[in-house]
């Protein structure tokens, strides 16, 4: 098989990313169970992002998003991952709304024949999801008050930037 000169995609694979934005819990176990195995897959790398309790200070995170654009941005990043690595499956699920400490915020899974493609693609997806997908987090505190909006981290921009140099 030779890769398409424009997209880098392998002909015949016809893998499409699966992108979902949901208000309910993400069943990480079910996501993984439905991605692994299948004969051609050698490795599956998953990232699950959780709401931290920030040392007990936090009662919940509130996730706001830009409907329509959020799905489109994540799908765009996932298509880039599919063009860059020979993936056999690629999935991203992001929650919105109120999320309690210990609950999951985001799930990303990338499967490939060999492990390095799966590791790199999953890491790439998270780095760009952080910097390009229109989601915003606000803290709700244990004392009942509404805390501030979570500040954007410059280290996230740097992490995404490094992929342009690789």
């Amino acid at each position: 098989m030779t890769a398409d000169a424009n997209t880098g995609r392998q002909p015949g694979l016809q893998i499409e990313p699966e992108v979902r934005i949901e208000t309910g819990r993400i069943d990480i176990a079910a996501e993984i169970a439905s991605m692994g195995g299948g004969g051609a897959i050698g490795g599956l790398v998953t990232f699950s992002g959780y709401c931290r309790d920030e040392g007990g200070r936090l009662s919940a995170l509130e996730l706001e998003h830009y409907p329509g654009m959020a799905e489109r941005e994540i799908a765009g990043i996932a298509w880039q991952a599919l063009e860059r690595w020979p993936l056999l499956a690629c999935r991203a699920v992001h929650r919105t709304g109120r999320i309690l400490p210990g609950e999951e915020i985001v799930f990303v899974g990338c499967a490939a024949e060999h492990r390095h493609a799966a590791f790199e693609a999953a890491s790439f997806l998270m780095d760009f999801l952080k910097t390009r997908a229109p989601f915003w987090k606000r803290e709700h505190l244990k004392d009942g008050s509404t805390g501030g909006w979570v500040e954007h981290k410059d280290t996230d921009d740097l992490a995404a930037d490094k992929w342009h140099r690789l």
Binding site: E73, I105, L129, K130, A133, P134, W136, W149
Partner: protein, 83 residues
């Protein structure tokens, strides 16, 4: 022109979206942000540091130098903190 706001930009401006009539001479995203900033104390509070503000034209990320002509929905929001 429909403007939509998110997170603390929305909170400070006080509305989630609005229709605005742009005066002549507003060509780029940069122009739009600086014009909006002069519309009142709430806009001034939301856009006091326009350089960090992100803008999407019809749900696609735009640079501040991009022209806004042709966009039917312009979104204005802080840097993203998802994931």
């Amino acid at each position: 022109m429909k403007l939509v706001y998110f997170a603390w930009v929305k909170e400070r401006i006080g509305v989630a979206e609005e229709q605005v009539e742009l005066p002549a001479g507003i060509i780029t995203v940069f122009d739009l942000l600086h014009w909006l900033k002069g519309r009142g104390a709430n806009y001034e509070a939301a856009l006091q540091a326009p350089e960090i503000i992100r803008v999407a034209l019809d749900k696609e990320h735009a640079d501040h130098s991009d022209p806004i002509a042709g966009a039917s929905e312009i979104a204005i929001f802080p840097p993203m903190t998802g994931g």
